[in-house]
Structures are given as structure tokens and as C-alpha cells.
Symmetry: C2
Subunit: 275 residues, 2 copies
């Protein structure tokens, strides 16, 4: 993040976007799209976030392509957050954690997204494996979609919101790292367009002590102003994720790279202003 | 369910179980385990539920094996519920739905599990695709793990619990099917060991009008009595899922098949008693 600014560029090869690059929406077309992204962004941005669903839709051959994307990004020295939103319990959660964060895997990623519908504590195998391997998890906390509030704003017996429980869990897991002045291995996903929800729910994202992945910057409506409104003093922890705005500049590698640089500069300026 | 009783047998090849069959915990060992399950259960039980995580842990080659499992079960005429617990929004949720429920896929399954942390409405692409293709989704509602209540019992602004919102959403989607005397395409996952939670939260599982997938029967502690306590008058909608109790009878095909039949008979007797 110091070298390249707080921008995470998504690789979201959905049909409309792939076709807008003049490519067929086939496995071969998606491969061309994804490997162009690896070429354009590898070594150029802080972080790249492939969306697993757009590879899984092509079955095991799509997952094999995703592994090649991950290897390519790793070779280029770029951090990879794999957006998989897995969530389960016990030995099943352990298997998901091993699948993406296992220490001996050649195709491991630097972090994954996870979903806490089964409770923050159900994610323990992934939280612990990430800490043990120097990797990370981003737990869904507050999402921007209109249906998200029905779950995330709901309040438990103690009066704390569901999102608040997730923030508290992450804060506890990050406490040791925070005391030594580092960001912890447990990050949160908080949408760039959730408006005043962080404040309304009384969430303390600064003390949470981990990185904040903020999807929705750019084409989905998130702006510098909305980031400031959502995150306030926690802005220096934010890794802003933009997919469509950068990807729609394709398919030329230099143009894609310039779009990522431009968006990255905007994000860096914003975070600097907040300091 | 009429022919084979309301039992869904899981295929959960985690390390301990695979090794207990005298197999190595490698892709080849898991393949032997999984294809033995296909041979033992295909055409013999109402439904088989492979757990995706135990295949994904072997990367794209594991996913390719899972596709062979799905094809084998389909050829044997056995319903397959793929336990993937996917959940996302927009075009991403659409891609997950297409990946598993798409109408032109040779490896499509009959149903998947989905996770509503982003709100029941975020699952719309999967709900609609399932209805259009005659397939199904099972939405996580109430899970048995101790951490689940922190999310699922929390109450929204209108006083309804998160699980209650999920039940209401499913009831609305199943209304047309219910009026014509059928179960709808939207099922729910409700753990066999959640005790009095369904009653405590005031959930109406009968009027919900869809099938109820109940994991945790057998080795995880769910018994006939606990099923009766949890589901009451909704018992005829229950598809009880058992993994470890049946699978630990392996690796011999006739013994596995007999274990599934015995557990299936127990479930059928229970449901008949409730009628």
C-alpha cells in the first residue's frame, strides 16, 4: 500500500464486461480477459481481487484458470485477495481455510473474504490459519446492497448489531497486533456506499485494528466524499476496491494500467488528506 | 422422498473419515472415497449431499472430481444437493447460480445451499433461476453451532429475527406452489439440534411451504426426539441429513448401503408418526 496506494483492482470477468472488450464469453475469452488483467496490474497496484464466482461459473476448468491468475499475480509480487465469501463451521470451515490460505499451497492467496452468517466465531479455523501463515481474512461486516441491512443492522440480545458483533470479534483478534503498532490479520468488508451506517450503529473501525476492504468505489457509486463519510478517521486503514471503473478502460494493457494508476492516485490523495 | 424416505446422505470426505476407511488423504484417496459413496448411495437413497469444501481443498482437480461425483449421482437418478453455502449480490450471485443451477449444464445439481448474510433479497438470482429450471435452493436459516444465534436470533427494526426474515422471504417465494399443493423451490436449512429456537423465535415452518434440510442427524447429536422438538408439525417437510453416522460404516459398499437404509427407515418412521 505504501508503494502503490490504497487501491485494490478487481478482476470481475462477467459477461457484459468480457464482451465489451471484444472477447467471446467463453472460457477462452475469460482467460484472455483475466491474463490481460494479470499483465496490466501485476507489480503495478497494491492488490488485485479476483471474484471467484466468475471463474467457478466455468466449472473446474474455470477454477484451474483462477489458479493460473493467482500464480501470475504471485510471481509479479502483487497481493491477491480472493473474493470467495466462504462461511461454514468446524471441519468444513477448516477445509475452506486450507483450500485458500494453507501454508504449503503453491496457489495460496494473501487473503480471502469470508461470510459470518453462522456467527463470527464459526470462522475461527480461517482466522487462526490466516494468523499462523501471515495471511489475512476479510470478514463481511456492512455491505452496500439494500437488502444487507435486514441482517447486518439487526440487534442481538445485548443490543449490539450483527455488524457490531463482527467488528468486536475482529477487534479482539487484532488486539495483539494493534498493541505492537501493526494492522492485524482480520480485516472487514465495509461497502464504500453504506452512508451513515457505521456511525448510526456505533461501530469503531479505528480500534478494530485491521484493514478495511471497501468495494463499490467508482462505477458502483462510491466517491472520495462517500469514503470520507463512511470511514472518517479509519480512512488510513481503507483498501478501496474498484472493478468496473478500471476494467472498463480495457482491453489495452497500457490504458488499463493508466486507469489503475489514476484511480490509485485519487485514493492515495484522499487517504493523505484524512491524515 | 416417497420411494426412499426422507434421508439425505452427506459425502463429507474430511481427513479423519477418509483415513478411517484405510485410504490416504490425497486426491486419489478422496476420489476412491467419493466414488464409493456414489456406488453405495446412487439410486438407493432420496438424496445425496456432497460438501464442496472437501473437494475445493484439492483445488481445481478436486472440483473436477466433484463434477464426476455429480454426474455419477445424476446417472443413478439420485437427487443431489450441493452444499456450497454461496452468497453474494448482483452479477456475482447470478454467476454462482449459473455455476450450479444453470439449465444447460451437464454437471448441474438439483439444489444448492446459499447463505443470506447479504440479506434474503440478495439471493434473488439463485431463487429465480432455481424456480425457472425446476431446481431448488436451501437458504441457511437456523444453524446448530453455538455462534449461529449471534446473527440468526438478532432482531431487525420491525422486531422480527434474522431467521424470521429468511422464513418470511421463503414463504413469499413458495406461495404459488403452496396454493397448488406442492412444496416450493425455496427450502431452508434448519439444524436438527437447535432445540426450542424455532418456537422461541415464532417461526412458522409449515406455512413456509418448502423443504427443510436438517443437518446434524446422527453423529452430531440430532435424534428422532430432537427432530420432533425442532420441527413439530413441519416434520413431513424435513429432509434429514446425516453424514458421519452413515459414512463411518464404510468402506464396504453393502455395509454403507445398509447403514443408509437403516437410518432412512428410522427417518421415515419418525415422519410417519408425526402425520
Amino acid at each position: 500500500m505504501d508503494a502503490h496506494g490504497p487501491l485494490c483492482v478487481g478482476i470481475d470477468p462477467h459477461q457484459q464486461l468480457v464482451e465489451s472488450w471484444g472477447l467471446p464469453y467463453t472460457l477462452a475469452g475469460v482467460e484472455r480477459f483475466a491474463m490481460t488483467c494479470v499483465e496490466a496490474f501485476g507489480g503495478q497496484v497494491a492488490c488485485v481481487k479476483p471474484q471467484s464466482a466468475f471463474f467457478e461459473v466455468f466449472g473446474s476448468r474455470g477454477v484451474a484458470l483462477l489458479e493460473r491468475v493467482q500464480s501470475g499475480l504471485r510471481q509479479a509480487g502483487t497481493l491477491t485477495i480472493l473474493d470467495v465469501k466462504r462461511g461454514d463451521i468446524g471441519s468444513t470451515m477448516t477445509a475452506y481455510a486450507e483450500a485458500f490460505l494453507g501454508k504449503d499451497r503453491s496457489d495460496a492467496v494473501d487473503a480471502i473474504t469470508v461470510s459470518p452468517y453462522l456467527g463470527y466465531g464459526s470462522l475461527r479455523p480461517a482466522l487462526d490459519l490466516a494468523a499462523a501463515t501471515g495471511r489475512g481474512v476479510f470478514v463481511l461486516a456492512l455491505t452496500s446492497n439494500p437488502e444487507g441491512a435486514s441482517v447486518q443492522h439487526a440487534r442481538g440480545a445485548g443490543g449490539r448489531s450483527v455488524a457490531g458483533e463482527v467488528v468486536a470479534g475482529a477487534a479482539a483478534d487484532n488486539a495483539a497486533a494493534r498493541e505492537s503498532g501493526r494492522l492485524g490479520s482480520v480485516g472487514l468488508v465495509v461497502g464504500a456506499t453504506v452512508g451513515t451506517a457505521v456511525r448510526d450503529l456505533g461501530l469503531d473501525l479505528t480500534s478494530m485494528g485491521g484493514p478495511l476492504l471497501a468495494p463499490g468505489v467508482g462505477a458502483q457509486g462510491g466517491t472520495a466524499e462517500s469514503l470520507r463519510q463512511v470511514f472518517g478517521e479509519a480512512l488510513p486503514q481503507v483498501l478501496a476496491s474498484s472493478s468496473r471503473e478500471v476494467l472498463s478502460a480495457g482491453p489495452d494493457v497500457p490504458v488499463l494500467r493508466e486507469a489503475a494508476r489514476r484511480t490509485g492516485r485519487q485514493m492515495r490523495a484522499l487517504v493523505a488528506l484524512s491524515g
